[in-house]
Protein backbone atom coordinates (compact mmCIF):
# COMPACT_ATOMS: atom_id res chain seq x y z
CA UNK A 1 0.00 0.00 0.00
CA UNK A 2 2.62 2.47 1.08
CA UNK A 3 4.64 1.39 -1.93
CA UNK A 4 2.10 3.06 -4.20
CA UNK A 5 2.54 6.28 -2.28
CA UNK A 6 6.28 6.06 -2.60
CA UNK A 7 6.16 5.52 -6.34
CA UNK A 8 3.77 8.39 -6.64
CA UNK A 9 5.95 10.80 -4.69
CA UNK A 10 9.10 9.66 -6.43
CA UNK A 11 7.69 10.69 -9.77
CA UNK A 12 8.41 14.18 -8.51
CA UNK A 13 11.06 13.94 -5.80
CA UNK A 14 13.37 11.00 -5.11
CA UNK A 15 13.42 9.83 -1.50
CA UNK A 16 15.89 7.84 0.54
CA UNK A 17 14.56 4.93 2.55
CA UNK A 18 14.77 6.93 5.76
CA UNK A 19 13.01 9.87 4.21
CA UNK A 20 10.22 7.70 2.99
CA UNK A 21 9.92 6.03 6.38
CA UNK A 22 9.53 9.47 7.90
CA UNK A 23 6.88 10.43 5.37
CA UNK A 24 5.07 7.15 5.55
CA UNK A 25 4.78 7.30 9.32
CA UNK A 26 2.43 10.26 9.02
CA UNK A 27 -0.19 8.40 7.03
CA UNK A 28 -2.82 5.99 8.27
CA UNK A 29 -4.50 3.52 6.00
CA UNK A 30 -8.25 3.01 5.75
CA UNK A 31 -10.68 0.86 3.84
CA UNK A 32 -14.06 2.07 2.73
CA UNK A 33 -16.92 0.25 1.07
CA UNK A 34 -18.83 1.42 -1.97
CA UNK A 35 -21.38 4.06 -1.02
CA UNK A 36 -19.63 4.94 2.24
CA UNK A 37 -18.88 8.58 2.93
CA UNK A 38 -15.38 9.57 3.91
CA UNK A 39 -16.44 13.14 4.58
CA UNK A 40 -20.04 14.20 5.25
CA UNK A 41 -21.39 17.70 4.86
CA UNK A 42 -20.97 19.45 8.18
CA UNK A 43 -18.06 17.31 9.35
CA UNK A 44 -14.89 18.65 10.75
CA UNK A 45 -12.38 17.94 7.97
CA UNK A 46 -9.23 16.65 9.53
CA UNK A 47 -7.66 14.71 6.71
CA UNK A 48 -6.73 14.79 3.13
CA UNK A 49 -6.67 11.53 1.27
CA UNK A 50 -4.44 9.72 -1.16
CA UNK A 51 -6.38 7.15 -3.15
CA UNK A 52 -4.51 3.86 -3.29
CA UNK A 53 -7.31 2.08 -5.10
CA UNK A 54 -10.97 2.56 -5.83
CA UNK A 55 -12.86 5.66 -6.89
CA UNK A 56 -14.18 8.64 -4.96
CA UNK A 57 -16.26 11.66 -5.78
CA UNK A 58 -16.40 15.06 -4.15
CA UNK A 59 -20.02 16.19 -4.16
CA UNK A 60 -21.89 19.34 -3.36
CA UNK A 61 -25.60 19.03 -2.62
CA UNK A 62 -27.42 22.28 -3.25
CA UNK A 63 -30.49 23.57 -1.42
CA UNK A 64 -32.86 22.11 -4.01
CA UNK A 65 -31.37 18.66 -3.49
CA UNK A 66 -29.42 18.48 -6.72
CA UNK A 67 -26.02 16.81 -6.65
CA UNK A 68 -23.02 18.46 -8.26
CA UNK A 69 -19.78 16.60 -8.67
CA UNK A 70 -16.85 18.85 -8.07
CA UNK A 71 -14.38 16.13 -8.87
CA UNK A 72 -13.74 12.46 -9.19
CA UNK A 73 -10.68 10.99 -7.51
CA UNK A 74 -9.16 7.89 -9.01
CA UNK A 75 -6.07 5.92 -8.07
CA UNK A 76 -3.06 8.09 -7.25
CA UNK A 77 -5.18 11.17 -6.73
CA UNK A 78 -5.29 13.41 -3.69
CA UNK A 79 -8.63 14.65 -2.50
CA UNK A 80 -10.27 16.57 0.27
CA UNK A 81 -12.56 19.52 0.80
CA UNK A 82 -9.48 21.71 0.53
CA UNK A 83 -11.11 24.96 1.41
CA UNK A 84 -12.28 23.43 4.65
CA UNK A 85 -9.12 21.44 5.22
CA UNK A 86 -7.00 24.56 5.13
CA UNK A 87 -9.33 26.87 6.99
CA UNK A 88 -10.51 24.42 9.60
CA UNK A 89 -14.19 25.09 9.05
CA UNK A 90 -17.02 22.58 8.49
CA UNK A 91 -17.38 20.56 5.32
CA UNK A 92 -19.65 22.05 2.66
CA UNK A 93 -19.23 19.00 0.45
CA UNK A 94 -19.10 15.30 0.97
CA UNK A 95 -16.54 12.78 -0.21
CA UNK A 96 -18.08 9.47 -1.20
CA UNK A 97 -16.86 6.13 -2.43
CA UNK A 98 -18.09 4.94 -5.79
CA UNK A 99 -16.21 1.67 -5.38
CA UNK A 100 -14.61 -0.16 -2.47
CA UNK A 101 -11.57 2.00 -1.85
CA UNK A 102 -8.32 2.06 0.04
CA UNK A 103 -7.01 5.46 1.04
CA UNK A 104 -4.08 6.87 2.96
CA UNK A 105 -5.07 9.62 5.36
CA UNK A 106 -3.02 12.62 6.33
CA UNK A 107 -4.06 15.09 9.01
CA UNK A 108 -3.54 18.79 8.45
CA UNK A 109 -1.11 18.87 11.35
CA UNK A 110 0.92 16.05 9.85
CA UNK A 111 0.77 17.67 6.45
CA UNK A 112 2.25 20.80 7.95
CA UNK A 113 4.85 18.79 9.81
CA UNK A 114 5.82 17.01 6.63
CA UNK A 115 6.17 20.29 4.77
CA UNK A 116 8.14 21.95 7.49
CA UNK A 117 10.24 18.84 8.13
CA UNK A 118 11.44 18.11 4.62
CA UNK A 119 11.64 20.61 1.83
CA UNK A 120 11.27 17.72 -0.58
CA UNK A 121 7.72 17.16 0.57
CA UNK A 122 6.87 20.82 0.46
CA UNK A 123 8.16 20.81 -3.10
CA UNK A 124 6.14 17.72 -3.88
CA UNK A 125 2.93 19.30 -2.61
CA UNK A 126 3.69 22.49 -4.51
CA UNK A 127 3.98 20.54 -7.73
CA UNK A 128 0.73 18.75 -6.97
CA UNK A 129 -1.02 22.01 -6.21
CA UNK A 130 0.15 23.40 -9.56
CA UNK A 131 -1.10 20.38 -11.36
CA UNK A 132 -4.43 20.76 -9.60
CA UNK A 133 -4.64 24.41 -10.52
CA UNK A 134 -3.87 23.68 -14.15
CA UNK A 135 -6.47 20.93 -14.17
CA UNK A 136 -9.12 23.23 -12.77
CA UNK A 137 -8.22 25.84 -15.34
CA UNK A 138 -8.69 23.30 -18.09
CA UNK A 139 -12.13 22.49 -16.76
CA UNK A 140 -13.07 26.16 -16.58
CA UNK A 141 -11.93 26.56 -20.18
CA UNK A 142 -14.11 23.66 -21.10
CA UNK A 143 -17.13 25.41 -19.60
CA UNK A 144 -16.26 28.64 -21.37
CA UNK A 145 -15.55 27.31 -24.82
CA UNK A 146 -17.62 24.17 -25.21
CA UNK A 147 -21.24 23.09 -25.26
CA UNK A 148 -22.56 20.00 -23.53
CA UNK A 149 -21.66 17.63 -26.33
CA UNK A 150 -18.11 18.88 -26.62
CA UNK A 151 -17.60 18.75 -22.86
CA UNK A 152 -18.86 15.20 -22.86
CA UNK A 153 -16.46 14.22 -25.59
CA UNK A 154 -13.54 15.86 -23.82
CA UNK A 155 -14.31 14.01 -20.61
CA UNK A 156 -14.79 10.76 -22.44
CA UNK A 157 -11.50 11.15 -24.22
CA UNK A 158 -9.68 12.02 -21.00
CA UNK A 159 -11.17 9.33 -18.79
CA UNK A 160 -12.72 6.68 -21.01
CA UNK A 161 -12.79 4.13 -18.19
CA UNK A 162 -14.90 6.40 -16.02
CA UNK A 163 -17.96 5.68 -18.11
CA UNK A 164 -17.63 1.99 -17.47
CA UNK A 165 -17.11 2.41 -13.76
CA UNK A 166 -20.03 4.65 -12.79
CA UNK A 167 -23.62 5.23 -13.82
CA UNK A 168 -24.13 7.96 -16.38
CA UNK A 169 -25.89 10.22 -13.94
CA UNK A 170 -22.52 10.99 -12.42
CA UNK A 171 -20.56 12.18 -15.45
CA UNK A 172 -23.65 14.27 -16.20
CA UNK A 173 -23.53 16.04 -12.89
CA UNK A 174 -19.78 16.50 -13.28
CA UNK A 175 -20.31 18.13 -16.65
CA UNK A 176 -23.14 20.32 -15.45
CA UNK A 177 -25.71 18.70 -17.74
CA UNK A 178 -28.92 16.83 -16.98
CA UNK A 179 -28.72 13.06 -17.32
CA UNK A 180 -31.36 13.15 -20.05
CA UNK A 181 -29.33 15.54 -22.15
CA UNK A 182 -26.21 13.47 -21.64
CA UNK A 183 -28.11 10.37 -22.66
CA UNK A 184 -29.20 12.03 -25.89
CA UNK A 185 -25.68 13.24 -26.60
CA UNK A 186 -24.03 9.91 -26.15
CA UNK A 187 -26.43 7.94 -28.28
Amino acid sequence: MQEKLREHIEKIVPLTDEEFAFVSAHFTIRNYKKRESIICKGDQVNHCYFVVSGLLMLVYDDESGKQHIVSFAMEDWWESDYLVYHTNTKATMSLQCLEDSIVLCLTLQDYQKLCAGTQKMEHFFLEKAHAGHIGSQRRIMSFLTSNAKERYEQLFQRYPSLFQRVSKTLPASYLGVSRETLSRLSS
Copy 2:
Protein backbone atom coordinates in the same frame (compact mmCIF):
# COMPACT_ATOMS: atom_id res chain seq x y z
CA MET B 1 7.12 48.97 -5.99
CA GLN B 2 9.02 46.20 -4.36
CA GLU B 3 7.43 47.23 -1.07
CA LYS B 4 4.08 45.99 -2.34
CA LEU B 5 5.63 42.64 -3.05
CA ARG B 6 7.12 42.47 0.40
CA GLU B 7 3.82 43.28 2.11
CA HIS B 8 2.14 40.70 -0.04
CA ILE B 9 4.61 37.95 0.81
CA GLU B 10 4.68 38.85 4.46
CA LYS B 11 0.98 38.21 4.75
CA ILE B 12 2.03 34.58 4.56
CA VAL B 13 5.68 34.36 5.61
CA PRO B 14 7.68 36.98 7.51
CA LEU B 15 10.99 37.90 5.91
CA THR B 16 14.15 39.47 7.23
CA ASP B 17 15.61 42.38 5.28
CA GLU B 18 18.31 40.15 3.84
CA GLU B 19 15.82 37.54 2.85
CA PHE B 20 13.68 40.07 1.10
CA ALA B 21 16.69 41.54 -0.65
CA PHE B 22 17.48 38.07 -1.94
CA VAL B 23 13.92 37.56 -3.12
CA SER B 24 13.59 40.99 -4.59
CA ALA B 25 16.76 40.62 -6.63
CA HIS B 26 15.07 37.95 -8.75
CA PHE B 27 12.31 40.21 -10.00
CA THR B 28 12.42 42.79 -12.74
CA ILE B 29 9.93 45.57 -13.00
CA ARG B 30 8.02 46.47 -16.15
CA ASN B 31 5.43 48.99 -17.24
CA TYR B 32 2.76 48.24 -19.78
CA LYS B 33 0.16 50.44 -21.39
CA LYS B 34 -3.50 49.69 -21.70
CA ARG B 35 -4.16 47.26 -24.59
CA GLU B 36 -0.56 45.99 -24.62
CA SER B 37 -0.01 42.24 -24.51
CA ILE B 38 2.37 40.84 -21.95
CA ILE B 39 2.07 37.36 -23.40
CA CYS B 40 0.88 36.65 -26.94
CA LYS B 41 -0.50 33.34 -28.14
CA GLY B 42 2.42 31.31 -29.45
CA ASP B 43 5.04 33.05 -27.34
CA GLN B 44 7.60 31.29 -25.29
CA VAL B 45 6.42 31.95 -21.73
CA ASN B 46 9.39 32.81 -19.62
CA HIS B 47 7.86 34.75 -16.79
CA CYS B 48 5.14 34.82 -14.30
CA TYR B 49 3.89 38.17 -13.15
CA PHE B 50 2.98 39.88 -9.94
CA VAL B 51 0.61 42.76 -10.54
CA VAL B 52 1.72 45.85 -8.64
CA SER B 53 -0.97 48.03 -10.15
CA GLY B 54 -3.38 47.98 -13.05
CA LEU B 55 -5.53 45.20 -14.38
CA LEU B 56 -4.77 42.25 -16.65
CA MET B 57 -6.80 39.53 -18.26
CA LEU B 58 -5.79 36.06 -19.36
CA VAL B 59 -7.62 35.31 -22.59
CA TYR B 60 -8.12 32.33 -24.80
CA ASP B 61 -9.17 32.97 -28.39
CA ASP B 62 -10.92 29.98 -29.89
CA GLU B 63 -10.91 28.91 -33.53
CA SER B 64 -14.12 30.75 -34.30
CA GLY B 65 -12.59 33.99 -33.05
CA LYS B 66 -14.49 34.19 -29.77
CA GLN B 67 -12.66 35.48 -26.73
CA HIS B 68 -12.87 33.65 -23.43
CA ILE B 69 -11.51 35.20 -20.28
CA VAL B 70 -9.86 32.61 -18.12
CA SER B 71 -9.11 35.11 -15.41
CA PHE B 72 -8.69 38.71 -14.48
CA ALA B 73 -5.64 39.72 -12.51
CA MET B 74 -5.89 42.72 -10.29
CA GLU B 75 -3.41 44.30 -7.88
CA ASP B 76 -1.56 41.77 -5.76
CA TRP B 77 -2.39 38.90 -8.04
CA TRP B 78 -0.04 36.49 -9.71
CA GLU B 79 -0.67 35.52 -13.28
CA SER B 80 0.80 33.60 -16.14
CA ASP B 81 -0.11 30.88 -18.59
CA TYR B 82 0.84 28.40 -15.88
CA LEU B 83 0.49 25.30 -17.94
CA VAL B 84 2.95 26.71 -20.39
CA TYR B 85 5.14 28.32 -17.77
CA HIS B 86 5.72 25.02 -16.07
CA THR B 87 6.01 22.82 -19.12
CA ASN B 88 8.01 25.19 -21.23
CA THR B 89 5.75 24.96 -24.26
CA LYS B 90 4.20 27.78 -26.31
CA ALA B 91 1.47 30.03 -25.00
CA THR B 92 -2.07 28.99 -25.85
CA MET B 93 -3.48 32.10 -24.26
CA SER B 94 -2.57 35.73 -24.16
CA LEU B 95 -2.15 38.06 -21.21
CA GLN B 96 -3.37 41.57 -21.91
CA CYS B 97 -3.51 44.85 -20.06
CA LEU B 98 -6.92 46.39 -19.48
CA GLU B 99 -5.32 49.41 -17.83
CA ASP B 100 -1.82 50.84 -17.67
CA SER B 101 -0.11 48.35 -15.42
CA ILE B 102 3.06 47.80 -13.45
CA VAL B 103 4.18 44.25 -12.98
CA LEU B 104 7.07 42.40 -11.40
CA CYS B 105 8.42 39.61 -13.57
CA LEU B 106 9.91 36.34 -12.41
CA THR B 107 11.51 33.84 -14.74
CA LEU B 108 10.88 30.15 -14.26
CA GLN B 109 14.54 29.63 -13.50
CA ASP B 110 14.48 32.30 -10.83
CA TYR B 111 11.25 30.95 -9.46
CA GLN B 112 12.91 27.59 -9.06
CA LYS B 113 15.98 29.17 -7.53
CA LEU B 114 13.82 31.05 -5.05
CA CYS B 115 12.01 27.89 -4.08
CA ALA B 116 15.15 25.86 -3.75
CA GLY B 117 17.01 28.67 -2.01
CA THR B 118 14.55 29.50 0.74
CA GLN B 119 11.93 27.17 2.09
CA LYS B 120 9.95 30.23 3.09
CA MET B 121 9.37 31.09 -0.54
CA GLU B 122 8.48 27.55 -1.45
CA HIS B 123 5.97 27.66 1.36
CA PHE B 124 4.67 31.00 0.15
CA PHE B 125 4.11 29.69 -3.36
CA LEU B 126 2.48 26.57 -2.00
CA GLU B 127 -0.02 28.68 -0.09
CA LYS B 128 -0.66 30.75 -3.19
CA ALA B 129 -1.18 27.66 -5.28
CA HIS B 130 -3.70 26.36 -2.77
CA ALA B 131 -5.56 29.63 -2.79
CA GLY B 132 -5.60 29.49 -6.59
CA HIS B 133 -6.90 25.96 -6.57
CA ILE B 134 -9.65 26.82 -4.12
CA GLY B 135 -10.57 29.84 -6.21
CA SER B 136 -10.83 27.76 -9.36
CA GLN B 137 -12.95 25.25 -7.53
CA ARG B 138 -15.30 27.99 -6.46
CA ARG B 139 -15.66 29.07 -10.06
CA ILE B 140 -16.34 25.52 -11.21
CA MET B 141 -19.00 25.21 -8.52
CA SER B 142 -20.51 28.40 -9.81
CA PHE B 143 -20.80 26.89 -13.30
CA LEU B 144 -22.28 23.71 -11.89
CA THR B 145 -24.83 25.17 -9.53
CA SER B 146 -25.81 28.54 -10.96
CA ASN B 147 -27.46 30.02 -14.00
CA ALA B 148 -26.22 33.11 -15.81
CA LYS B 149 -27.99 35.56 -13.54
CA GLU B 150 -26.69 33.99 -10.36
CA ARG B 151 -23.16 33.80 -11.71
CA TYR B 152 -23.37 37.45 -12.64
CA GLU B 153 -24.52 38.36 -9.14
CA GLN B 154 -21.77 36.31 -7.54
CA LEU B 155 -19.13 38.02 -9.66
CA PHE B 156 -20.61 41.42 -9.02
CA GLN B 157 -20.65 40.82 -5.31
CA ARG B 158 -17.10 39.55 -5.29
CA TYR B 159 -15.57 42.22 -7.50
CA PRO B 160 -17.96 45.17 -7.66
CA SER B 161 -15.25 47.51 -8.93
CA LEU B 162 -14.58 45.32 -11.94
CA PHE B 163 -17.76 46.48 -13.62
CA GLN B 164 -16.63 50.08 -13.44
CA ARG B 165 -13.19 49.33 -14.76
CA VAL B 166 -13.95 47.36 -17.91
CA SER B 167 -16.58 47.19 -20.63
CA LYS B 168 -19.37 44.71 -20.01
CA THR B 169 -18.29 42.46 -22.82
CA LEU B 170 -15.47 41.27 -20.60
CA PRO B 171 -17.35 40.11 -17.53
CA ALA B 172 -19.69 38.39 -19.99
CA SER B 173 -16.91 36.41 -21.55
CA TYR B 174 -15.55 35.60 -18.09
CA LEU B 175 -18.94 34.27 -17.05
CA GLY B 176 -19.44 32.31 -20.25
CA VAL B 177 -22.48 34.30 -21.31
CA SER B 178 -23.15 36.40 -24.38
CA ARG B 179 -22.91 40.13 -23.83
CA GLU B 180 -26.56 40.53 -24.84
CA THR B 181 -27.71 38.12 -22.18
CA LEU B 182 -25.57 39.83 -19.58
CA SER B 183 -27.00 43.17 -20.57
CA ARG B 184 -30.52 41.87 -20.07
CA LEU B 185 -29.63 40.35 -16.72
CA SER B 186 -28.07 43.46 -15.31
CA SER B 187 -30.89 45.83 -16.24
